[in-house]
């Protein structure tokens, strides 16, 4: 039923076992990606652009490491998985879902917490497939 699942990993990946179980049951291929948290407040004034860029880069690097670590775990568990070559913000979910032709999006609620529990207004009505909000453990 869900041939391709787009799984947006959270920082601690507490939900990964649920996703694995779900993917195993549906014999799905899991497409792994992550989104950067968007702070509702602007960065502090004393933080220059260089520092912000460094922090962003560190965050992205950590995301990629989490994604490949998780891909390795999925593979060891016999679940088909691929990585999506793009990290973005929560606004990118619609694009990612469209470009990967996925049948389901799994979005942990902890990712939403990082976004101040806000989804872009136009996101839900325009998604090409269902979205599954997964609570943390």
């Amino acid at each position: 039923m869900f041939e391709r699942i787009l799984y947006i990993i959270s920082e601690k990946q507490e939900e990964k076992h649920t996703v694995m179980e779900f993917a195993r049951r549906h014999q799905s291929t899991v497409l792994l990606t992550a989104v950067s948290p968007v702070s509702p407040c602007p960065p502090p004034l004393q933080e220059g652009e260089t520092r912000q860029a460094v922090r962003q880069e560190e965050h992205e690097r950590r995301c990629w490491q989490d994604i490949y670590r998780l891909e390795d775990e999925f593979k060891k568990s016999g679940i088909k998985s691929s990585v999506v070559a793009q990290l973005g913000t929560i606004d990118n979910i619609r694009f990612l879902a469209n470009s990967t032709h996925c049948d389901l999006i799994i979005l942990p609620t902890s990712v939403l917490a990082e976004h101040d529990y806000r989804l872009p207004e136009e996101l839900l009505p325009n998604l090409p497939c269902p979205i599954f909000f997964l609570p943390g453990s």
Partner: protein, 653 residues
Amino acid sequence: MKGRQIGSNSENKPSPLKLDIVLDLDYISSPKEVFAIVAGQLAQFGVKEEVMVKALMERERAGSTGVGHSIALPHAIIPGELPRPLIAFIRVRKGVEWQAIDGQPVKLICLIVASERNRPEYLKLLAEMAHRLARDHVRARLIKARSTDEIMAVLTHRPAPGFFTTYRNFFIIATAIVAVYILGRFLFPALKLPPIEVYEKLGYIKFNSAPWPSREALTTAIFLGMILGTLFFWRYRVALAATSISLLLLLRVMDIESAVEYMSIPTVIFIMAMMALIKWLENVGVFRVIVVSAAQRVGNSPGVMLLVLMLFSIVLSGFAGEVSGILVTFGLALELARRTRVSPLPYLLALVFATNVGSALTLVGNPIGVYIAFAGGLTFENFSRWATPVSFVAGIVTIILGLILFRRHLRRPAPLSPATFTVEANPQELRLGIAVFLAVIALIVLHARLENWLHIGEGTVLVATPLAALAFVIFIEQERGKLLIERGIDWWTILFFMFLFANAACLEHTGVTTKLGYLLLRVAEKLPITRWLGQSGLTGSSLILMLWFSGTASGFVDNMPIVAALVPIVKTLIQIGLPHASILWWSLLIGGCYGGNLTMIGSSANLVAIGAYEKATGQVVRFSDWIATGAIITFVTMAIATILLILQIPLAR
């Protein structure tokens, strides 16, 4: 094999990166062939070829490593011992089918193999390569690289930009300000207004003597600094405009009362109230319902659909503003393109072109129209007489050109199903929204007659109408009314406009625009067209200069600063009695609106539509995609407008 190491201070970063193999291939048939070639070359590190190919192929079966964006990151832990993870980078110019998640062929392949004991390092390397290849500019440089050495350099070498490179734009602006100031100190004292009656009567002769020439140099330098600043640092535009105002106040070029007066509060209130009102109408679904209803009636031909959407872009931008117009029509076009699997780029371009042309249709289509209306004391009826017919003709031409230029994309026999467009709107709210919209438009259309009839000041009904409508909406929306005001009004833009208006009016206050107006007339006199046009020659040449300058400049800088700077010149030319000079208002409006089609950054509608396109497709609109068609549309529509306006010069006041 050459490799360059990079340092790392962060615990997240892998140990120094070393590429073991870099290959540049023209064609390759399959992933397996890539693996075989690389395995053969990695044999020198003790890799067994068959084992490596088998491990990589097994990994592909467990899920494609084609990660999208023409990238594949094949990787595997292979049996046996390797001293460290091995990395090979392969570029395949013609691409290879990889069953990538986005279905696109792969051109950039980064292959990583390691033995079990290197697993942590291997995962870090994978993450690092994915991190680097995820960047658009890195991929673009890798695709364009002319040699394997260049590929190697792109992947491993990251030079830190120097001080001057980092602050290059800042130095350009600072240099420009100083240069313009020095030039102004020489030019403005030399540029003297002639002691003719009209200048003496208007009190402009004072601008020939101290302290005005030095103030003129100062004001011009500060204004140009602000314009350049907004060009390079758009997100700081409010800060830049505020800095300019502060400088003008502190340097005693103008006082606080004048600054407040020059902020053109009626214009700002009108734009602000209309912004909130239009946002509410968008939320209620009024515009979407109108466009979807029409789209559902026209059948499923791509050409007819584009025609309808362009037509609505013109009308909606004329009556609801360029941003609302493009948001509705391009939103539908994106849905259409997604369902029919065609590129939305032709729709983006065609609809933006139509929107910019349509924004000159009425007084409310574009903030520059509102500003011109208040500055020139023009009514909606004046706009209907002068701007609407020209924009109507230019709009029709834009539609025809759009259909011709993008005909290749419209031939695709894709099944279109506009009937599947959905509109979720509360019928009661919808009816109320349509009623409010029609009432506001009717009152704005009739504002001059009502003001005459009620014996109230010019523009009173124009300002009061959207304010009253907004008050009504806030009242019926109750709690949500506060949100509407907070989010529906682009406060950032409003502040920018206020400061910008004051900056531009200061050019008039110090006599800069009076002298520029005089200079414009002297240039216009020398143009051969002045002689050809006979009695209207000087006005015709000024019209041409004004329209084409504002049009071309608006393609590269936001149109509002350009128009704000030129408005006082038109005022001066009217004051000094240039015959039929009121026609210059329309040349300014049309230049500012149509010129927005020239480049990607020409208008707010362009930026909004490009943002939506990039968000929906993940692709970037290139300058070259835009400029070819944009230049044609801009040139043709501006030429048509020039001819139509010149023909009507004798009819103008």
